[in-house]
């Protein structure tokens, strides 16, 4: 293997190991509400100790999938298995799976400690053991001073940690998290993302998390399933999702992207030339069997950070039309401190976005509004998209 797409936990890639058994398995699972199909014949394999994210816009069926795993909904068709055993017909209180609810669903009439102890009491655990486990969970989520408080007396972040402690207290085989950070403010959300990921790794549990926030999924998950309208479109590592999105929908949903439409023309050994509707040419390397035929309409995506922006025409053919570059006029600039975003207007009127790291504090010839600039990219910087 010559190249990898981005970082992975080197020792943890069960999905690449054919001998690794599935931990959670969905087989052709469909869920209908009346005529409406919320989940449409989906199959999925999740491995033990994996941090798995279901990512998609609101209403795409993520929560429904999670609720089926928890046992609150039964699939209309298909089968779900946990460690090879079918889950069909097993009621929620008998599943070795715990859920952290979207709005926490803390019991308002119980103290923090009683909320955490609730699941343990249902197990019939001895009183002393319960007290010990509750203390341990409180320590884990750093809420020891708040044991006696009612949920209404806590901040949003503290409530979130109580919900987490309550769901973890029973040491479930699988923890399901429905938008666990959705109610937190940005700063707290970012901190908590890393905490959750650390917690998952140190406890060695399997996490299935639902989110509509691609950044959240990318930060925490080992693998991401991107969903749209009740279907899983791609299951891959965060880096693969970002660098090699399967469809235009995913490229657009995960991160910023420039997508160009054009006609394909095959060149020698795996090289492809695309004459874009925006008036410039793209030359790219395509491996794999899915090489389009001459004259096919294809889409080519380049991420803004892979666009190089400069005043001077990039090296290459010194004159005449060269591939993988285009000239335009700076239309808008967004200065974000660490990076700047340049929206460049092409002759055809399309806007192309490029970002540049603000590595130096002072620049000799800063790019500014209305400047004529060149955008260029390497042949392997973009990706060919199917439909």
């Amino acid at each position: 293997m010559a190249k990898t797409l981005g970082p992975v936990r080197r020792s943890f890639q069960p999905w690449n190991d054919p001998s690794e058994p599935a931990y959670i398995e969905l087989r052709d699972v469909t869920k209908r509400f009346g005529d409406f199909t919320a989940v449409d014949r989906q199959s999925l394999v999740i491995y033990e100790r994996e941090f798995f994210a279901l990512l998609g816009p609101s209403g795409c069926g993520k929560t429904t999938l999670l609720r089926m795993l928890a046992g609150f909904e039964e699939p209309s068709e298909g089968e779900m298995l946990l460690q090879g055993r079918p889950l069909t017909g097993v009621p929620p209180h008998k599943r070795p799976v715990n859920m952290m609810f979207q709005s926490y669903a803390l019991f308002p009439h119980m103290s923090v400690a009683d909320n955490i102890a609730f699941g343990l009491k249902q197990e019939g655990m001895a009183k002393a053991d319960i007290a010990q486990r509750v203390a341990q969970m409180l320590r884990l989520v750093k809420l020891e001073p708040f044991a006696g408080r009612k949920p209404a007396q806590l901040s949003g972040g503290q409530q979130q940690r109580v919900a987490l402690a309550r769901a973890l207290a029973k040491r479930p085989k699988v923890l399901l998290l429905d938008e666990p950070l959705g109610a937190l403010d940005k700063k707290l959300r970012e901190e908590t993302q890393f905490e959750l990921a650390d917690l998952q790794e140190s406890l060695g549990l399997t996490f299935v998390i639902v989110t509509h926030d691609q950044e959240e999924a990318m930060t925490m998950a080992d693998r991401i399933a991107v969903m749209d309208h009740g279907r899983i479109i791609q299951v891959a590592t965060p880096a693969e999702i970002y660098e090699a999105p399967a469809t235009r929908y995913i490229a657009d949903f995960v991160g910023d992207v420039n997508i160009f439409e054009g006609q394909a023309e095959r060149l020698e050994e795996g090289k492809l030339r695309i004459a874009t509707t925006a008036g410039f040419a793209v030359e790219t390397v395509v491996n794999g069997p899915s090489l389009p035929a001459n004259g096919d309409t294809v889409w080519f995506a380049v991420r803004p950070e892979k666009m190089v922006i400069s005043h001077d025409r990039p090296a290459g053919a010194s004159s005449g039309p060269a591939p993988n570059m285009v000239e335009g006029e700076v239309w808008d600039i967004g200065y974000l401190g660490d990076v700047s975003i340049y929206n460049v207007k092409l002759a055809c009127g399309d806007i192309v976005r490029a970002t540049r790291l603000n590595a130096a504090r002072e620049v000799e010839r800063p790019i500014t509004w209305d400047d004529r600039v060149w955008l260029s990219w390497r042949p392997d910087s973009g990706v060919l998209l199917a439909g």
Partner: protein, 297 residues
């Protein structure tokens, strides 16, 4: 200026309910209290006023008579009537709660479109006069009434059951009449209940029954309390139902009150009975409210 006007407006608005209570509760209460402290007279009105104005207040204060209250403690009839009223009201409230809770629960879980219809069905009986509905129960419960005919027709009993003129008829009457007052507050608190809390409980290993006891019931306590008070308080002083459905040995304070006022024309004793009844009801309610406040904190 603006501030002053809005301040005055606020004062007026808050004063309205106080004024209402003053005119329609406190003033009558003081009058009844005054009567209860006077002595019986065969006259019109049938009592001697204790004081007429402020000037002889002190002088007359000496004449204030607690005899009527002493009298209530001396005659076992009154104590029995009080206790019997409390017992009947308590049992009726419990039965109303047991009947009303499943009703309210089913209503709160009914499909959205059906709920207003069910709510209407609960309120519907109020469109017929209370008195007529209680009279109707005589027709149902009497020995040759609908209930006995139906039971005999089904072959469940051979002799008619004696229900009318017993405490049972009073329980049935109170439960039937006050059920909406139990169901409505219960429905309000059950309908508000977040169903995800039940799911969370089951997710954590609670059986549906456990989830009901540990989550649904505690969270509907405000509804249980409100409904129970709305049934218990009027039931203690209930007069019409024990009078029409109860037997001669059904002793309730409302009836005793009626007998004292209109039969014996002993207004002072009757007033004393009324005042004691009020104290008997207010003190437990206040204690209960204090406990609730403490629990909420």
């Amino acid at each position: 200026m603006q501030g002053l006007r809005s301040f005055l407006a606020r004062q007026v608005v808050t004063a309205v309910p106080y004024l209402w209570l003053l005119v329609f509760f406190l003033a009558p209460f003081l009058i009844v209290l005054k009567i209860s402290l006077s002595e019986t007279a065969i006259a019109m009105p049938p009592y001697t006023p204790v004081f007429e104005g402020l000037k002889d207040l002190l002088e007359k204060a000496k004449q204030l008579s607690f005899d009527n209250y002493l009298w209530l403690t001396e005659d076992a009839l009154y104590i029995k009537a009080y206790l019997s009223s409390l017992r009947i009201a308590l049992v009726s409230t419990l039965i109303t709660l047991i009947v009303g809770y499943p009703l309210a629960y089913a209503m709160a879980r009914a499909p959205d479109g059906l709920r207003p219809v069910l709510l209407m069905a609960v309120i519907l009986p109020f469109w017929t006069s209370f008195l007529i509905r209680v009279y109707a129960w005589i027709g149902i419960l009497k020995p040759e009434g609908l209930l006995n005919q139906a039971l005999i027709g089904l072959g469940l009993i051979s002799e008619p059951l004696q229900i009318i003129n017993t405490d049972w008829a009073v329980y049935i009457g109170i439960v039937y009449s006050y059920l909406p007052f139990m169901v409505l507050p219960l429905y309000a608190s059950l309908e508000r209940l977040d169903l995800r809390l039940i799911e969370a409980a089951m997710d954590l290993g609670a059986t549906p029954l456990k989830a009901f006891w540990r989550i649904t019931v505690p969270l509907s306590v405000p509804g249980i309390v409100a409904g129970s008070l709305l049934v218990f308080i009027p039931a203690v002083g209930e007069f019409v139902i024990p009078d029409l459905l109860g037997g001669s040995d059904t002793l309730m304070i409302g009836r005793t009150l009626w007998v004292e006022f209109f039969y014996n024309r002993d207004w002072p004793v009757a007033s004393a009975v009324a005042i004691l009844l009020l104290i008997l009801l207010v003190v437990p309610i206040v204690i209960f409210q204090k406990m609730q406040e403490k629990a909420a904190r």
